[in-house]
Symmetry: C2
Subunit: 323 residues, 2 copies
């Protein structure tokens, strides 16, 4: 009996496809490749497949009960965990791709420096062809970071800030389990105690029921007025209206949001024009970076070998936990 894999991705190069073909051949599988325009063809093929490599809740909804493994090429799998009805086979394994740490951490370093070095204000000065240049700035060196989420993304951020001389890096996670990238890791329940001492808050949390508005209006008010907030996890994790109010009233020094709720952010949302806010349209983890795409394929192939050999999958998600 043929063991088939349905692959529905837009980012694969010929080299990526060759690598998948070679791994599939070696492990006894046949891969079938579809572009995003070929939804119907992919859905037809999927009917006799046991593995799907994609990032499409719509396509997953078409999968038969025989589907045993859905490899999602994204890191955030909230759409799949919130709606268990998506899986015709309740025991279908879900894996995600934790390969976005490098690119998202580079984004965080960039916006951190843009905030500390007053780039929103300097860009306005430059737009006016002016030469004012005495704004007080701060440095990553000797600075302190509070990172909400100690997973792949949080760790890559911590390593880079450490490399640039950060004095202290505190992590917060559900378990509070220590990790060498952080000076200390606290459980999320300690958040209210940590916020008043926070200088730069980096939010890299998955989208789960527990993380919705975890940074609410009351917690934003706990941050010092010279603190910065950076969110690269999920837009739902903070109260956008409260953040904009804090920025516009000078109760927060600045913020950088790569994720919003909803996305796209509506054209007339007042958030666009909040003071000292750097907005990017959910680009920090884009698959427009070669490294991210290469790693994505490499992780899928490694887990395909695990799957074929009956070993546990490295990227396995706990669907009840949500990550």
């Amino acid at each position: 009996m043929s063991r088939d894999i349905c692959i529905y991705q837009e980012f694969l190069t010929e080299a990526h496809k060759d690598r998948i073909r070679e791994t599939a051949r070696r492990t006894g599988f046949t891969p079938h490749f579809f572009d995003l325009e070929q939804f119907d063809e992919a859905a037809d093929c999927l009917q006799h497949c046991e593995v799907l490599y994609a990032h499409s809740p719509e396509l997953l909804r078409k999968a038969p009960a025989a589907l045993k493994w859905y490899c999602c090429s994204f890191a955030g799998v909230d759409p799949y965990c919130k709606d268990p009805g998506l899986f015709a086979n309740p025991d279908c394994m879900l894996t995600n791709s934790n390969v976005y740490g490098v690119t998202i951490a580079e984004h965080v370093v960039m916006v951190t420096l843009m905030l500390l070095r007053r780039m929103p204000e300097y860009e306005e000065i430059v737009r006016l062809h002016s030469w004012s240049n005495q704004l007080s700035i701060r440095s990553i060196r000797d600075n302190e970071f509070t990172i909400l989420g100690t997973g792949d993304i949080g760790r890559h951020v911590a390593e880079r800030m450490r490399g640039m001389g950060a004095a202290k890096i505190v992590g917060l996670s559900r378990s509070g389990k220590p990790h060498p990238a952080f000076d200390q890791v606290y459980p999320i329940s300690a958040l209210d105690d940590v916020l008043p001492q926070t200088k730069i808050l980096v939010m890299a949390l998955p989208g789960t029921a527990e993380t919705v508005h975890i940074l609410n209006r009351e917690r934003i008010a706990l941050l010092p007025a010279d603190a910065y907030v950076i969110n690269v996890g999920r837009g739902t994790a903070l109260d956008q209206k409260a953040l904009a109010d804090a920025l516009n009233s000078g109760k927060l020094a600045g913020a950088a949001l790569d994720v919003m709720d909803p996305e796209p952010l509506p054209q007339d949302d007042p958030l666009w024009d909040a003071r000292n806010l750097i907005i990017t349209p959910h680009v920090s983890g884009n698959m427009t970076l070669g490294y991210t795409c290469d790693e994505n394929v490499a992780r899928f192939c490694a887990d395909l070998e695990n799957y074929a050999a009956g070993r546990p999958l490295a990227g396995l998600v706990d669907r009840t936990r949500g990550y």
Copy 2:
């Protein structure tokens, strides 16, 4: 006989002054502090001083032949080397303050990431409240850097890029002397061979006769069309008109200039509006960062101890070489 120091600086806090007073007391000196508005008072006091700590060619011009050491709080001492007539005492020692590596390197990391991650274009998209987000980006990880100038600034840049996973870091210096921060260091004479292989060119050169227009029109043409140029040294080091032409015609992917020629850049200079050019008004090495100011005072005090003991000064500049 009283041994006097004239100090003419705007950035000193009371803690800085206390530190200087304490070092001076211990080494047998009396410091006299002046704000920038007190030029005439500083010039009067200077007549009986043997040391001047400032960054003012105008004040230095008022110094008597008895001045033995001018400690310049800036790194770039081109104004003092180009005009030897500034020194009434031809044997007066000149030191500079190589304390700007941290802040300038953080600036370079910031603009490098802004260029690689297409921020000039994304900022325009965000200005229109739009949500387009599929621009192809690049990463510091696995990337290659060519750093013109292997001094304090070039080394701090190299260390940070290394820490973020750069694959190769080549330096160029007058001597070509190896340094552990770089995979290879070539003499400046190899520049024409290095430019065609360059992905990201960081220029951190002092302003000397040899560095004027070192990146001229012909050399800009040697760079690949997908290369980036970053200049944090002196504006005179590149041909601005040729750089703008290359950017506007798509022969260069982008650039970031923190230094210009002249400064301020005239309001109607076409450089302001060159394509994919990030302009900042000479802020990368500003003394608006506490760390830079603290280090500046620490280096002055350390050299004051050297001076008092008759030891060589750590920051001594070769006035004929220019750095």
